[in-house]
Every structure is written in C-alpha cells, then in structure tokens.
C-alpha cells in the first residue's frame, strides 16, 4: 500500500513520518504542497508535523490554501483515510476536515515532553482503553471544540500512566483532555506517533497508530 506524505514549506516531520510508515511495511512518497495532481495512486494521506509557512497568522492558516489541499479534501471525501499529526492536525482543523480549533497552550509556552493518551473510540480499529506513550512538541495544541459542529468523536485523551484522565496529565489545557479527534475517516492528533517507533526512542506505541492506518486502508 502506498501512503502520500504532504510536505509544506516548513514541514519538519516529513522524513520521520516516512520512516514510520515504512516501519509498518508500507511505501511512502513525499508530496510537494504546490502540486495539484490528483491523488488516486495513494491509499492514505498523512499531513505531518512541523511549522508549515512558519505558522504565520496561526498554525495551519496558510497551509490550508496550498494548491494540494483541495486534492486532500477530495481524497478525504472519497472515504480514504487522512491522518494529521501535530501541525498536520492543525491544518486539518483549519481546512474544515475536522471541527474545532487548536489554541495556544494554556502555559503560553511550547511543550516538549512524553505524555500518555488513552484510546477513547475505536477509530481505525484502535482498542478503546489502550494507553499509549508518545512525545508531544507543540505550542498550539489546546483543543477547543466547535459548539455548532456535529458531535466530535474524541479519539485520544491525555491520561496518567495508569490510564486515568486527570487535569495533571493534560499538557496544554485542551478541552476535556482531548489529544486527538476523528471525523469519519479523518483523524488528527497532537502527539507524535512517528517519534515512538522503537524501544531505543522510548516507546513503540506510535507503531500502533500507523498500524491502525493500515487497518483503515483495508477497511476502505
């Protein structure tokens, strides 16, 4: 199966994401943001982390206007899986594929640390209740829901190592400890699964997210 990884100017997790996709046995191509080519050759699209366009205005606010984005929206509407990680999540929210907004962290500081997240919904076959350990690295990860939008499917919540969702486990002030949400076949999360793919890096739990992407592919 073939996964397209979109590169905006300022994206900086593209290579890591390709390595993670390859680690679960798939082929990944980097897709330049200025391309308007249709994306039928791909089984899934990933918007990786970074600082697309330097986070000018707001994270993701300029990237949503990149020439490739109408193709990504088209792709999502075709029912195939789209994964947004960190800045990719911010782009998905800005372009309307996911509801809500990502505000500045309540600390008003960038946060880079290892967190635990509990799976809340069986998105792409993830097992509810599973606790995943992954790093975060963001300044704008404070999720705020859109009250007008249809109900959000909360996919991941920040929790303590034992799986309890507590205020102390929330690194950025996000509403209801949200770490990731899904809408149909579109999934966005703030933690970086591509940085948790081997014991030497500190965790293999990120592979579970990329394997879920595989299940999502099969399901299409």
């Amino acid at each position: 199966m073939k996964v397209g990884v979109v590169v905006f100017p300022g994206t900086n997790c593209d290579r890591d994401t390709v390595a993670a996709v390859e680690a679960v046995g798939h082929v990944a191509d980097l897709l330049w943001h200025a391309s308007t080519d249709p994306l039928p050759a791909y089984d899934a699209i990933v918007l990786p982390g970074g600082f697309a366009h330097g986070d000018a205005l707001r994270a993701g606010a300029i990237a949503r206007f990149s020439p490739i984005m109408p193709r990504v929206v088209e792709f999502a509407h075709s029912g195939r899986p789209v994964l947004g990680i960190c800045n990719g999540f911010q782009v998905l929210v800005e372009c309307g594929l996911l509801p809500g907004a990502l505000l500045r962290n309540d600390s008003l500081q960038f946060r880079s640390e290892w967190v635990h997240c509990r799976v809340e919904a069986p998105v792409w076959g993830l097992q509810p209740g599973a606790v995943l350990r992954m790093p975060i690295a963001h300044g704008m990860g404070n999720y705020f829901p859109d009250p007008e939008a249809p109900s959000v499917e909360v996919a991941l919540r920040y929790c303590d190592p034992s799986g309890r969702v507590t205020a102390a486990a929330n690194p950025n002030g996000s509403w209801d400890n949200v770490a990731g949400i899904a809408s149909g076949n579109v999934f966005g999360l703030m933690p970086h699964p591509e940085r948790a793919i081997s014991d030497v890096l500190g965790s293999r739990d990120g592979l579970y997210i990329f394997e879920a992407l595989t299940r999502a592919l099969v399901a299409v």
Partner: protein, 686 residues
C-alpha cells in the same frame, strides 16, 4: 570620502591608531571610508581572533578521525565510521542576548546552524550553555525566560532537536549573560563542502533574506553611530526568521546533493564582507561585488551598509555560470530569493563596485593574513570564589544551580527527527546514527565552582568527557567557546591564557582533538567581568546503543560504588583512567548505572540516581558528601566484585533499595520530598 582619517572615524570602525598606520603601510595609500570599514570588520576580534590566535595555537587539533580541522572552515568535521561524518561548532551570542534576549538567542541558533549546513551536513542536534545572574532578580528572570523562548522557537521551527545543554547562575553574569549555542550535523564523507571561492569567472550568488541595515557593525561592536551621515541609529541586534532558515537548509542541502554548487559560505558577523573575503582567502582568489545587485529591504543603503549588514538567513554560493539556471530552479521551488552579486576574479583582492564605479579595492591578504595579532600584557589576579552551595540536603536539591532544568528543556523540541535515544536520564544525550545501532553522545559543560581559570578550562573538558563516558561512549572531538572579559586588562588576558592552557592540557591528556571554537571577549558590564567561562561541547561515539548507560538506579539490592579517588585535586592522568574504566565497565556490562559527580558533590549525584530510577539507597562512608572533587563517578552494579578488574580506586558506598535516601550521619529523606524540592526548584523562582 576622506582625505585624512580623523581619529573619530578610525575609532568608529573599531580600529586603533597603530592599526591605522598598518593599513597605510599595507595599502601604500590612505583608505577611503568603505575600505576602512572593511578593515575594521575583518580585523575585529570576532573575525580574526587578534587577541587569542597565538594562544589558541597550543590547542591539540590533530587526530586520525579529524577530517576538517579547527579554523579551516566554518565548522570542524570528524569521521564517525560507516562513511558518515559529524560537523560541529559552538558559538556565543552573548552581547545581542544582553540587549534583546529573544532575538539575540534566536539568531545565535540561526548562525550556528548555518555554519554547520554550510559544510554539507544536515543539522541533527542543538545544544546550548547559558549563564545568568540569580533568578531571584527580575532582570535575570526576564533574560532567562526570553533567551529560552528564543532558542526554543528558532530550533523548534527548524525541526532540529535540542538534546542537551546547561544553565547556571552567578552574580557575575547579571549584567552580561552568556548564550552559547552549539549545532551538530551529519553528512556523508563525499558530500563535504568547502567554502572556497575557486575558479575565476564563477559567479557569486547571494541566497535568502534581503539585505537591510539590521545588525550593522555587529562585528566591529560599534561604539559610535552613523548619525553624521544622516542615518538613523539602529540597534546592533539582528532579527531572525526560522522559517526562512528552514527553507535555506532544505534548498542548500538539495543543491549540494545534486552537485550544483562549487562552494557555500554563510553570512555571519560582518555579513557579505567576511563571507566573501574568507571564501576568496581559502581559494587564493579574489572577489568582485556589485552592490547594486544586492536585493535590499530598505532604501538608500550605501555600499558600506550593504557590505557590513548582518541581516540574517543569507548564504553566499559559488556557482559556475552554466549552472545558474538549474540552481535558480531549485531556489524558486523553495521560494527563495537569489541575486548574482559578483564573481570570482584572479587578482586576490576584494573589489566593491556600485553601478560599475569602483568603491573599494583591498588585497585579501591585507584583510586576513596581515591582520594584527597581539600578545597583550597579562598579570595574575584572583577570581572571586564561587558562592557556596547550601549544605542542607533539601535546600541544596532546590538550589537554582542544582535543581531540575525541566522548566527550560520542556520548551525545546527534543524528539523531532526521531533519533534522540535518551533525553533526561543520562549524563549526555544520545542521537542515533543512520542504521540505528550506533549513536553519538553529546553534551556541553563548563565548571564555575572554583576560583582558578586554569581549572575552569581543564574541568570543562574533563567533565564533558566524563559525562559522555558515563553513557558508554568514547569522546572523539570537542568544540569550545571561550567567554572571558576584556583582553585590554592584564588580569583579563591572564584569565584567558590560563583558561586556554587548562583546556589544552586536558584535551591532550584525554586524547580529544579540538575541532572548532569561538572566542568571546569583552564580556563585562558596569559590575565587572564575568567569571572566566570556557565552555566545551563534547562529541562521543557509542558503537552499540543497546549497551547505553543512564544515571538511574535500576534494581533493589545493587551495590553502589564510587569509581575514582575519594577526594583530591584534578589529576588528568587519573581522570583519563577513570573515564576509560567506566567505559570498559559499561561495555562489559559490569554496571547498571553511571553518573558523574559535579555540582553539590556525591550527595547530589546519589539523589539524582535515586530520583531518575525511582529507587532509594542506603550509603555509609567516611567522606564529605558535598565535596566537588573531580574524576569521580557513581555506579551501581549487581556484581561489584567484578569492578576490581578495572584497576582504578573505588569506594563501596552501600546499596540501592527502598523509597528513601539514607546517608549515615547526614540525611534520611523520602524520595517524594526530594523530588518536590528538585523538580520545583526553578519553577518556584520563575
């Protein structure tokens, strides 16, 4: 232009009367103002190390693994095996950070990153070393907070993990904080890029940011402004754009990968002047620059301002005339501006033209090789002793110079590039090399717990190498940043001499070559000079990352042993033996943890091993638990009897176990109380 240079003009460009006489002699005529400015920039301490070059000659620079030696290029390069090489350098951005801490620190990161990717290396790690006044003062808190934010925002946006660093507080840094940034890059041997402007007729391509008046005279450290010429007075601090720098990294690495560039040089201090002169100097050629071709961000800039601007995020590439279109195509894709601003010429001069009219012409050698080098007079003078640390155990753990740095490092992305093996439970960071089996170990170190500048130099090297060794990695190269006071005072020169002598002795004793460095003098304020602060960035190589060692105690019942002499002054031969011993012990699997003793002595080392491992300990020995003697490492082992084969002095201290740290005759502390003090220390102050 001027007929005779008034002393005010000579002074404006940071030159001294005797230096002006030397310029007259070298040119055989009077320089015009632009030419005088070129000399001022190139003969500044920052560019030519005129006060320190002779002293730096004593540093050991050679070793079989060294591919690019100190001083040859923008950064030093060493072989790390498997066809891979590592480029690295540390540099200060102290004065800009004192004036505008956020931009000063951010552009410090930007500058050192450019030095590294200029070599054809992809930047894979950042480190830093910071010094401030104590954070109980508002100004020091402000500087700390803004410097950390500046470093974080710049490095985070670039997608380069900040994997290590250090922060210490001392009253001497109150008026003059230190901000040293280090970058480490990875490259294939065959992609090693030189900066030389070779081949007459090749074109000079200026890539990236437009040129403005920002940072004007940063290198000459302007004491006078340009009001006389109707120019607005500008701060000498530059403003950075990490987004633009990220595009430059990707575009330049792509251009180098495709072999489209003949040379590449970053624009740092003294901007276009130093980059073009150094590139020509390295090739034995000359350069001709037409200033009207340089894209500006401001109107009405004079040739002098264009030549000396320190606008950030600019690179100078040497391109064959036939390849410009291909180069431009790559740059356009990355949205980067580029201007052909001149060419390489045979005659070894720098020639500046404006609309074809000659504005300046100076021999390259006059600006570089003929720069004055000084043996300043020196005189020993005491350095005030460091402020004593508290001897109450919990107060010590909460002290700003001992407590956890989590408040700082959680603002730095440590995990991007998915290669950071250990973040906060080892004495040095480990970054995986391609393939994932081998790793490099990295740390920065400077020791401020003494009153002897020789020891400051020697201990910085010894501690950095010891930290790297405690992960199991062998130190293979170091970079250094020498932060000292004015060389125009005899005691300042003495401190610098002693610091370099200590650094050289330790590097030689430990067999580690110095591959790059930076000298930052004049670190003084109204309150006097900073403590002599030589900082070392150390690179180690770990052959098997599965054998890596951390500081955390691992298992109840393990024996705790102190490797090295129980106390005593620095003995470099002993230091080398202890470091070798700990590496052997780790390689043979004889120890389960290793942690060097530094600030706060054995007590703090034991406390950190307990806190990181979540395990207590019970120890007993006839030692001063707060003694900060060097060459000592706390290890834990399930088979302590095997450690005897290492052949170094050792002291049995006790055993790992429980949830308390019990030190007979000193303390009996619950881990939770220790953690509260240690973790809250910095946050409580900020």
């Amino acid at each position: 232009m001027i007929a005779t240079a008034p002393s005010a003009l000579i002074d404006r460009y940071g030159l001294k009367p005797n230096e002006y006489d030397r310029i007259l002699e070298l040119l055989g005529r009077e320089p015009n103002e632009l030419e005088l400015a070129l000399f001022g920039a190139m003969w500044s301490e920052h560019c030519c190390y005129k006060s320190s070059r002779k002293l730096l000659a004593q540093l050991p620079k050679d070793a079989p693994q060294v591919l690019v030696k100190a001083g040859e290029e923008n950064a030093g390069v060493v072989d790390v095996g498997g066809g891979w090489a590592v480029a690295m350098k540390i540099e200060s951005h102290n004065h800009p950070s004192a004036v505008e801490p956020y931009q000063g620190a951010a552009t410090g990161v930007g500058g050192i990153v450019r030095d590294v990717f200029t070599m054809g290396a992809r930047p894979i790690a950042l480190l830093n070393s910071l010094r401030f006044g104590f954070p109980d003062e508002p100004r020091s808190r402000y500087l700390l907070a803004r410097v950390v934010a500046g470093i974080g925002d710049y490095g985070n946006c670039l997608g380069i993990p900040t994997v290590g660093g250090e922060v210490f507080f001392d009253p001497s840094y109150r008026g003059n904080p230190l901000v040293n940034a280090m970058c480490v890059g990875l490259l294939r041997h065959d992609k090693l890029t030189r900066s030389a402007a070779s081949g007459a007729g090749n074109l000079l391509l200026l890539i990236g940011n437009r040129t403005g008046r920002d940072g004007l005279h940063g290198a000459t450290f302007a004491s006078a402004n340009l009001e006389g010429e109707g120019l607005e007075k500008r701060p000498s601090v530059q403003v950075g754009s990490p987004f633009l720098e990220k595009l430059l990294i990707e575009a330049c690495l792509e251009l180098l990968d495709r072999g489209l560039l003949l040379g590449l040089q970053d624009l740092g201090a003294a901007g276009l002047t130093s980059s073009s002169v150094e590139a020509a100097g390295r090739a034995g050629t000359g350069v001709e620059i037409e200033v009207t071709r340089v894209s500006r961000s401001e109107t009405g800039m004079s040739p002098l301002e264009v030549m000396l601007s320190e606008s950030q995020e600019r690179m100078l590439a040497v391109v064959a005339p036939g390849r410009v279109a291909e180069v431009r195509e790559v740059l356009d894709r990355w949205g980067l501006r580029s201007d052909v601003i001149g060419r390489v010429i045979e005659q070894p001069v720098v020639r500046v033209l404006q609309e074809g009219a000659l504005c300046a012409e100076v021999p390259i050698a006059a600006l570089t090789d003929c720069a004055p080098f000084y043996d300043w007079p020196y005189a020993p003078a005491p350095v005030p002793p460091p402020e004593p640390l508290p001897r109450d155990p919990l107060a010590l753990l909460a002290h700003p110079n001992v407590c956890s740095r989590r408040w700082v490092y959680r603002q730095y992305d440590q995990t991007v590039q998915a290669a950071t093996a250990a973040t906060d439970d080892a004495d040095a960071a480990l970054v995986l090399l391609p393939g994932g089996k081998r790793a490099i170990a990295l740390c920065t170190d400077g020791n401020f717990r003494h009153d002897d500048p020789y020891l400051a130099g020697a201990l910085a090297v010894a501690e950095a190498a010891r930290n790297v060794s405690c992960t199991g990695a062998a130190p293979i190269a170091l970079t250094n940043c020498l932060n000292f006071g004015s060389p125009e005072r005899p005691e300042g020169v003495w401190q610098l001499r002693e610091g370099i002598r200590g650094l050289a002795d330790a590097a030689r004793a430990l067999g580690v070559p110095v591959i790059s460095g930076n000298v930052s003098l004049y670190n003084e304020s109204d309150e006097g000079s900073v403590r002599p602060t030589p900082i070392v960035g150390m690179l180690g190589l770990l052959e098997d990352v599965a054998k890596r060692c951390t500081i955390a105690f691992k298992a109840d019942g393990d024996a705790i042993v102190l490797l090295g002499p129980p106390t005593g002054p620095l003995d470099l031969q002993m230091e080398a033996r202890v470091q070798r011993a700990v590496r052997q012990a780790i390689d043979r699997g004889l120890v389960r943890s290793a942690h060097d003793c530094a600030e706060g002595g054995l007590f703090v080392a034991l406390a950190e091993c307990c806190l990181k491992g979540g395990l207590g300990a019970g120890v007993e020995a006839d030692l001063d638990w707060f003694d900060e003697s060097p060459s000592r490492i706390v290890v834990s082992s399930s088979h302590p009897e095997d450690l005897a084969e290492l052949g170094v002095p050792m002291t049995h201290l006790g055993r790992v176990g429980g949830q308390r740290l019990m030190i007979r005759g000193l303390a009996d502390l619950a881990l939770d109380d220790m953690r509260a003090a240690y973790e809250r220390g910095l946050e409580a102050l900020l």
